[in-house]
């Protein structure tokens, strides 16, 4: 069983244990699993369901309800464009549209070559720097449209 050899499963197991294998541990466990595996594969979800004695359908229902959880792997690089209100009125939608067009990927998706995942976020809470995007964990504010394209080009080169 891979669970015994794979260190990532151990991380997940630890979270469940910490929370006493309670059914309410599900969301915390999903967070740990996503951190360890990068995304939530069905096999991982089934493992969690069995350990927490939860129905498969319920676990899948919860994992798909919360948009923080990814059910598909991320690309090598990722760009999160904040679409919060402040960013929106400062033109974030135009940045997102431009990135979608330039890199031929829809928000929420990954390019065919798995190089870039483009994500739109609800609000990253840095409204003072609007519009803001996060390029591979590095937030850059007061973004221009062309500037954002350049940053991504540089990033995936």
């Amino acid at each position: 069983m891979p669970a015994q050899v794979d260190n990532r499963y151990k991380m997940v197991e630890r979270t469940m244990k910490k929370l006493g294998y309670e059914r309410s541990a599900l969301i915390e466990t999903l967070h740990t699993a996503q951190e360890s595996f990068g995304y939530l594969e069905k096999e991982t979800l089934k493992f969690i369901a069995r350990r927490l004695k939860l129905p498969f359908s319920k676990v899948y229902g919860v994992a798909t309800f919360y948009h923080f959880f990814r059910l598909k792997p991320k690309g090598k690089h990722n760009t999160v464009v904040c679409m919060g209100t402040a960013c929106y009125i400062k033109g974030a939608n135009k940045i997102l549209a431009k990135l979608e067009e330039r890199f031929n990927v829809k928000a929420g998706g990954t390019t065919a070559d798995d190089l870039l995942s483009l994500i739109s976020a609800r609000c990253v809470g840095s409204c003072s720097l609007a519009p803001i995007a996060i390029f591979d964990d590095k937030p850059i504010g007061n973004l221009g449209i062309e500037q954002s394209v350049e940053i991504v080009e540089e990033m995936i080169r």
């Binding site: 309670e22 059914r23 309410s24 541990a25 599900l26 969301i27 915390e28 999903l30 967070h31 319920k58 229902g61 919860v62 309800f65 919360y66 948009h67 923080f68 959880f69 679409m83 919060g84 209100t85 402040a86 929106y88 009125i89 400062k90 976020a121 609800r122 609000c123 990253v124 809470g125 840095s126 409204c127 003072s128 720097l129 609007a130 803001i132 937030p139 850059i140 504010g141």
Partner: protein
């Protein structure tokens, strides 16, 4: 482990003494916004510069939580305890650090980066919730204690009865800062009176409103204040367990809270028999998952239980049937952050701020087309105009203000001619908006109002949990119709349908998200009907 007020005082004294050894401080704002601008690097570099120059004993470099003026980040303050002076620099980049250190060493001032402490932005604020933000080190419980932290809790446990704590909160007139504005004291009293062995205290730190980052700043800058408020609620209502439900998108807040809880437990401020009494209180952080609807009380609670965040029909309210079916108090971060000062200085003192029906102060996240974007804390009742023009510095580039959006996506758009209304729960409601959690987004006249309305409605559509029909289908239908208005292909019938949809969604949806979702359309239709009419094609 500390058990008495005296022991707490000893920690405070020791910390103050230790601090006074270094006469000066350089405080780097490491709030989220400044962090995005490289504040962590600046803190590191500055530490190095100061120690290279052999000034370590004289001056301490410390990272502090959000100072508020995010638009001028990264911010560094130079505090001189002897002279009792503060010099504030803004708009700093990593390349400026050498000059900051040089200026400090030579006792001069870096004029081009100097911020005016007499700027109306600072003068017109009144800080209660944010009193420590920008001053203390959020990673250090002793710093919090040295700034009167946990004295309210210890004093309450040792000197006051639960009823007296509730009485103070009631006297303060504090209303829930999460949006609804329900009196906090009343909520506590209801739960305190319920006879149940198990009760829970839950703090909503999910802050799902786009354009709101007050709670994030509080959790990051002063996490112990939230913990103290929750523990006081636990003491007042007879609850021994609490949960802080935090957005997973706020990893720094989560980290700070977890660290703070650990520190508090180590000192015996959380845990069994606090302050030598028989009151015990334990606290856990739970992560949200990026669902706006989980800001709704029943949805939040069911999410903590590990379920999809579907709200349920009320009644029963949480005070009767909350977390795991037990009586539960749910307040948001800012509400809890107000509790310690209220208990420390008295409800009457707090009620002295703000207006009669909305006492105290309110933290707003000012953003959009306004000069000073950031966090501001002002007394309730200040006019919208003063907040935006005096504190916020007005609309940049000489443009005209069109609307101010308050209350998050389900709030309303307030037009220019209503800017003189006082900002309090009831006045905002009377113009069709609401307080919400405190996002305040200014829009200039370059923005199409129909597009703004569509933006908010689409937000609610994608955040609808899908449980009840009017919200699930209605918000999508609203978005589709607004698409036609944005594309200027709408018909007269579409306008009628738009209005009908707003009414049905508002009146028949199950929870607050659906009931409020049409608000941006209703207010913009009321104040900017002409823009909708212009979008109707003639044929």
């Amino acid at each position: 482990m500390i058990h008495t007020l005296e022991e707490l005082e000893e920690i405070a004294e020791a910390k103050r003494e230790k601090d006074s050894e270094t006469k000066e401080e350089l405080r780097v704002c490491i709030g989220s916004s400044c962090l995005s601008l490289g504040a962590d690097q600046i803190e590191k570099d500055l530490k190095e510069e100061i120690s290279c120059r052999g000034l370590k004993d004289k001056c301490k470099v410390k990272g502090v939580g959000c100072n508020g003026l995010c638009s001028a980040g990264v911010l560094v303050s130079h505090i001189d305890r002897e002279k009792n002076s503060e010099t504030m620099y803004g708009n700093l980049g990593t390349s400026d650090i050498k000059s900051v250190a040089e200026a400090y060493e030579s006792g001069t001032i870096l004029k081009e980066k100097l911020l005016d402490p007499h700027d109306p932005f600072f003068l017109n604020q009144e800080k209660i919730v944010l009193e420590n933000a920008g001053y203390i080190d959020p990673n250090d419980i002793e710093d919090y204690i040295a700034h009167d932290g946990y004295f309210a809790l210890f004093n309450a446990i040792i000197e006051l009865s639960a009823e007296e704590v509730i009485a103070e909160v009631k006297k303060s007139g504090l209303r829930g800062r999460g949006g609804g504005g329900y009196p906090v004291g009343l909520k506590w009293e209801t739960v305190a009176k319920v006879d149940s062995e198990q009760k829970y205290i839950v703090c909503n730190g999910d802050e799902g409103d786009p354009g709101a980052f007050m709670d994030r700043a509080i959790m990051e800058a002063d996490p112990h204040r939230v913990i103290e408020g929750m523990a006081l609620a636990g003491f007042a209502c007879g609850a021994n367990k609490g949960y802080v439900y935090v957005r997973a998108e706020y990893p720094i807040a989560v980290e700070k809270l977890n660290k703070a809880i650990k520190q508090a437990k180590r000192l015996g401020i959380l845990g069994q028999n606090i302050a030598g009494s028989n009151f015990s209180f334990d606290l856990e952080v739970r992560l949200g998952g990026g669902a706006f609807v989980c800001g709704e009380a029943t949805a939040l609670v069911t999410s903590i239980e590990g379920n999809r965040g579907n709200p349920r029909q009320k009644p029963p309210h949480l005070s009767d049937y909350g977390l795991w079916g037990e009586p539960t108090i749910l307040n948001n971060v800012e509400s809890f952050a107000n509790i310690a000062p209220i208990i420390r200085k008295g409800g009457a003192w707090y009620a002295g701020f703000g207006t009669e029906k909305s006492p105290g102060t309110k933290v707003f996240a000012l953003s959009g087309h306004v000069k000073n974007t950031g966090l501001v804390e002002v007394p309730m009742g200040m006019s919208l105009r003063d907040i935006i023009y005096k504190v916020g510095g007005g609309v940049p580039e000489g443009k005209k203000l069109k609307v101010v959006q308050t209350g998050g996506p389900s709030g309303g758009c307030i037009p220019e001619h209503l800017l003189d209304i006082p900002v309090d729960y009831d006045s905002l409601k009377s113009v069709g908006s609401m307080m919400g959690s405190g996002g305040m987004i200014v829009t200039d006249d370059s923005q199409s109002i129909v597009e703004v309305a569509r933006f908010f409605v689409e937000f609610c559509a994608s955040e609808s949990c899908g449980k009840c029909v009017p919200c699930r289908v209605g918000t999508t239908e609203l978005t589709n119709i607004l698409d036609k208005f944005v594309a200027k292909t709408a018909t007269k019938e579409d306008l009628i349908l738009l209005q009908d949809l707003c009414t049905v969604v508002k009146e028949t949806s199950l929870c607050g998200l659906g009931q409020a979702a049409p608000n941006p359309v209703i207010t913009t239709l009321k104040y900017f009907e002409d823009e909708y009419l212009e979008a109707i094609k003639n044929d």
